[in-house]
């Protein structure tokens, strides 16, 4: 064991053995942390959503299952609504994976200037409010959009892409392909170079080595990306409503309108159905992942090739050509809509104007206290984002450690750790509102929390599963010998986690933190339910408030949101970079 980590480890565990009283205390640290985590989740998530789901099974104080039965036996909801929702989610997932994989390949296997930054900005689509995506898609792919202008300029026939199922799928890919890219690139970067070299030295062709050695190691990550994409697009709301029109209404649209009509029983029943489907799928995936998890040794990673090679061969040239083609697609799907949004923020009827930004400045300077202003929105977003990190990263790491331990009933911890991903923001927001903001009675007291605390809770429970997902795989493939020798030398379980495992999986922790931050900044549904009528609005809420008969103010606020977010990611990844060992 010649790596510096090993030496540092020996030094440290030797030190631990002499300080045995601490070691005794640390033995209980992990179970204690697990208990605290469980309590937090019960309080911040399971209890609140239970208050919503109760509406599906309780009528007039009696347990009747009436609303749930009514919805579950209705052919329209079960067949048409659930069926279409699953169908479009499946297609969206296929497209997202197809679009995301080449990106992972480029990021993982090639070295070029700005690679790290590019990696950071893959998180940006995550935070773009859907209302802006809709507007940007219309400006780009619509009848009078940029695409048609470009097509007719070069003499090609115009296309009418909106609204359509295709537009929904592309917008979903806009949100989720970067997620696939990021998760798969991380896995690709931890592929063992030794195994590939062995295969090659045994006579395997490059393609064969990829298929038999690399691909099996990528598959769990691809399935992670695909599962998450399916779950997200299964619970999609604003995108189909804006880009597909109402004939493509998903189950979430029906939940929203049932809640708007105060039909709580129906809303809760549909939410139970939706959650049931997503949770089953997630559980299936987790079974697969567990079957896959095998101990892997050796963390020497593949060497990245320069994007611009020193010498050209036919194969190299073909590969670069493929990358160029992919770049065109990326520009069309990702860059063009964002650029259209930026353009919309500085123009009216094709004339250049800074009116929209002037509006933001004026609103900040002279807006009344009861109006939404840009600066508080930025500050609130950053504060909530930071608070989310403080809550979600420890939660996610503890859960990650727990899910990689071997013990009976682990599947339950697995499934429960993923549960927040499958509950929609509307349900989480409603649950926190009724469960915590309105408060609950116990021991003769009524306990309530403020809207701000509830918002952080909503963001943190939505975000921590990403930390689990980015921390668990590297923890799983960690060199067990390192941990075992630390334990043999007398380190407690908790100390082994903190001093050995955590430093080794730090890149996963940073990636998880970036996800958590992105989710907090971009979250809208739960935030708007919890922030309404209050001074706790965030940037996406401000964007929504600034929509009117002209899009300028909203797109300008959206641009500010993008800038603040992109800067934050670069900071997170730079700060995280220090810790990479």
């Amino acid at each position: 064991m010649d790596r510096p980590v090993g030496a540092a480890l020996r030094r440290r565990v030797n030190g631990v053995r002499t300080a045995s009283p601490t070691a005794v205390a640390e033995r209980f640290a992990l179970p204690l942390l697990a208990a605290v985590t469980a309590l937090l989740l019960a309080l911040l998530f399971y209890y609140p959503i239970a208050t919503v789901f109760v509406d599906a099974v309780v009528e007039d104080g009696r347990l009747t299952f009436g609303p749930l039965v009514e919805v579950a036996t209705d052919e329209f909801y079960l067949g048409r609504v659930l069926g279409f929702t699953a169908y479009q989610a499946l297609l969206s997932t296929l497209l997202s994976v197809l679009l995301g994989l080449p990106g992972a390949w480029v990021l993982a296997r090639f070295e070029f200037r700005g690679r790290d930054t590019l990696r950071s900005v893959t998180m940006v689509p995550f935070v773009v409010p859907s209302v802006l995506v809709a507007a940007a898609f219309y400006a780009t792919f619509g009848a009078n959009g940029t695409l048609n202008a470009a097509l007719s300029a070069i003499g090609l026939p115009r296309v009418d892409l909106l609204p359509s199922l295709g537009a929904i799928l592309v917008a979903h890919a806009f949100y989720n392909a970067p997620l696939v890219t990021r998760v798969v690139a991380a896995a690709w970067e931890s592929v063992d170079a030794g195994a590939v070299e062995t295969a090659r030295s045994l006579g395997a062709s490059r393609r064969r080595a990829f298929r038999d050695v690399v691909l099996p190691q990528l598959l769990p990550a691809i399935l992670t990306g695909a599962t998450l994409t399916f779950v997200f697009t299964f619970a999609t709301f604003a995108i189909p409503l804006a880009l597909g029109g109402s004939q493509y209404a998903t189950i979430e649209v029906f939940i929203y309108s049932a809640r708007q009509q105060l039909e709580y029983g129906r809303a809760a029943s549909l939410a139970v159905l939706e959650t049931g489907v997503s949770l089953s799928l997630m559980a299936l995936y987790l079974r697969y992942e567990r079957a896959q998890a095998a101990e892997r040794r050796g963390i020497r990673t593949l060497v990245r090739r320069p994007l611009w090679p020193d010498s050209w061969t036919r194969g190299r040239a073909l590969r670069r050509l493929a990358i160029a083609g992919y770049a065109v697609v990326v520009a069309l799907v990702f860059v063009a809509p964002l650029a259209s949004m930026l353009y919309a923020s500085v123009s009216v009827d094709g004339r250049f104007t800074l009116d929209a930004y002037r509006f933001l400045v004026e609103r900040q300077a002279t807006g009344a206290a009861f109006q939404v202003k840009p600066l508080p929105a930025i500050v609130n977003s950053l504060v909530f984002g930071a608070a989310t990190l403080l809550l979600a990263v420890p939660l996610g790491v503890v859960m990650g450690v727990l899910t990689t331990r071997r013990f009976r009933g682990r599947w339950l911890v697995d499934a429960l750790s993923m549960a927040p991903l499958v509950v929609s923001g509307i349900v989480v927001g409603l649950g926190l509102l009724r469960g915590l903001v309105f408060g609950f009675e116990a021991f003769g007291y009524r306990f309530t929390v403020t809207g701000a605390v509830a918002i952080v809770a909503a963001h943190a429970v939505a975000a921590y599963p990403f930390v689990v997902r980015t921390v668990a795989p590297p923890l799983d493939s960690l060199d067990r010998a390192l941990v075992d020798s630390a334990r043999a030398l007398g380190a407690s379980r908790a100390r082994a986690v903190l001093d050995v495992e955590l430093p080794l999986v730090w890149p996963g922790v940073v990636a998880g933190a970036a996800f958590a931050f992105a989710i907090s900044i971009g979250e809208f549904d739960a935030t708007v339910i919890l922030a309404e009528g209050g001074g706790t609005y965030t940037m996406p809420v401000a964007v929504e408030r600034f929509i009117g008969r002209r899009l300028g103010p909203a797109t300008a606020m959206g641009t500010v949101l993008l800038a603040v977010t992109a800067a934050s990611f670069v900071v997170i990844e730079r700060v995280g970079g220090e810790f990479r060992g």
């Binding site: 540092a8 209302v131 809709a134 219309y138 400006a139 619509g142 009848a143 009078n144 909106l162 609204p163 409503l241 804006a242 029109g245 109402s246 493509y248 649209v253 029906f254 929203y256 309108s257 708007q260 009509q261 105060l262 009216v348 009827d349 509006f359 009344a368 206290a369 009861f370 109006q371 939404v372 608070a387 403080l390 809550l391 420890p394 509102l433 903001v437 309105f438 408060g439 003769g444 007291y445 306990f447 309530t448 929390v449 403020t450 605390v453 903190l498 001093d499 955590l502 430093p503 708007v528 339910i529 309404e532 009528g533 209050g534 001074g535 809420v541 009117g548 899009l551 103010p553 810790f579």
Partner: protein, 392 residues
């Protein structure tokens, strides 16, 4: 320990500690018996500073703070909104502070609190329509919502000037303060400047208008609901679904809400959109081409959607709330609201500028359903629409 893992552990522990502190700071526990102190969420800076004064018992003398609940664009639209102006005018005349509350879920915010038995401090709600009033009444009896959410309006000074057709609350709680008409907005510059919108609902389904209309989903949008109700008025409750099937066959685009569809319209996705007959007020104010903002009243009718205000039954400031409602009905205030909210006044003799009528179009005939008709049917009508339309 100065090495990397030491730092990461301190962060980790520090993080857990900080969360604990933040959690405590945002939590409160109060004895259950003392219901009056259950703290409402702070709403605005104003609100926080005035909290001390609103908790006092209502006395014979007038309270000095009025909390007005309304929908966000009423105070917060990026173009014009009456909120700030009303606050200034009201405060300059009365020795009182006006505080706004603008929940995104509008009246549902208060209905939900009533059902859950949570206190709120709003005194008046401004901007409710017939559908919302029906929602209030249908939830009565749920959970802890047993009393009445709104009080009946007493004889307000100026109340008799309200146009007859606008009164929509049979129990007289909601007092209309303005009204809008749902109509088509169309773009005469499309089809190479040849486009002319159809005159009737029938013509709208003609082949030449295929794919030319953007409407909104009645289950998620007010304008969408109003347009659907207009088709029910035109074709009857037995015929409207068939009419919508013809519209669907003719390529109507139904989007989720007004802003999605209006931005699609501005991007020239289609030459017609379901919107408001006051569309030109904005367009002319911003110097836009009015040819792109023509108004069409199908069958020479517009669907009227009056907006009302009502006093919450357990308001701490009932007298001040009544003064405010009277203030809202005064002719010059009516004119001010109409211009800033871009709607029509609820009274006949509001002193509007002359060019206002030029841009704000009134239909030859207005159509609307009564409270009773909607109460019995609205839920069924929208559900049927959603099932038929989404099934397509």
């Amino acid at each position: 320990m100065t090495d990397e893992t030491g730092r990461s552990r301190r962060r980790f522990l520090g993080a857990v500690g900080a969360v604990g502190v933040a959690g405590l700071a945002g939590c409160s526990a109060q004895p259950v018996a003392d219901e009056a102190t259950s703290e409402p969420p702070a709403t605005t800076d104003d609100q926080v500073t005035t909290e001390g004064t609103t908790t006092g018992e209502p006395t014979e003398s007038m309270a000095d703070t009025l909390v007005v609940a309304t929908y966000p664009p009423f105070v917060n639209a990026p173009s014009t909104s009456p909120g700030a102006w009303l606050k200034r005018e009201f405060e300059s005349e009365y020795d009182a502070t006006l505080v706004y509350q603008t929940p995104d879920s509008e009246l549902n915010y208060y209905i939900e609190r009533a059902v859950q038995g949570v206190d709120f401090e709003a005194d008046v709600y401004v901007g409710l329509d017939t559908g919302q009033l029906i929602d209030v009444d249908s939830q009565r009896g749920e959970g802890q919502f047993t009393g009445s959410l709104f009080a009946e309006a007493s004889d307000l000074a100026g109340g008799d000037a309200i146009k007859d057709g606008l009164r929509f609350d049979p129990e007289g709680r909601a007092v209309p303060f303005d009204t809008g008409y749902i109509s088509l907005v169309w773009n005469a510059t499309m089809d190479g400047g040849e486009f002319v919108a159809p005159e009737t609902f029938e013509d709208l389904t003609a082949a030449e208008f295929e794919g030319d209309l953007i409407a909104q989903n009645p289950t998620t949008s007010t304008t969408g609901e109003a347009f659907m109700l207009h088709t029910i008025d035109a074709f009857g409750e037995d015929g409207y679904l068939d009419y919508w099937e013809r519209l669907q066959d003719n390529g109507v685009t139904v989007l989720g809400n007004w802003s999605d569809s209006y931005s699609a319209y501005l991007n020239e996705e289609a030459p017609m959109v379901v919107s408001y007959s006051t569309d030109q007020v904005f367009a002319s104010a911003e110097g836009q081409d009015l040819d792109k903002h023509q108004i069409r009243f199908l069958n020479d009718q517009g669907y009227a959607n009056p907006e009302g205000m009502a006093r919450f039954a357990d308001s701490d400031a009932p007298r001040l709330a009544e003064r405010f409602m009277e203030f809202m009905l005064r002719p010059e205030i009516q004119a001010g609201i109409a211009q800033r909210n871009v709607a029509f006044p609820a009274i006949a003799d509001a002193p509007l500028p002359e060019d206002y009528a030029q841009y704000a179009k009134e239909p030859p005939e207005s159509v609307t359903f009564t409270y009773d008709e909607l109460e019995a049917n609205l839920g069924t009508w929208t559900d049927q629409w959603a099932r038929r339309f989404a099934g397509g």
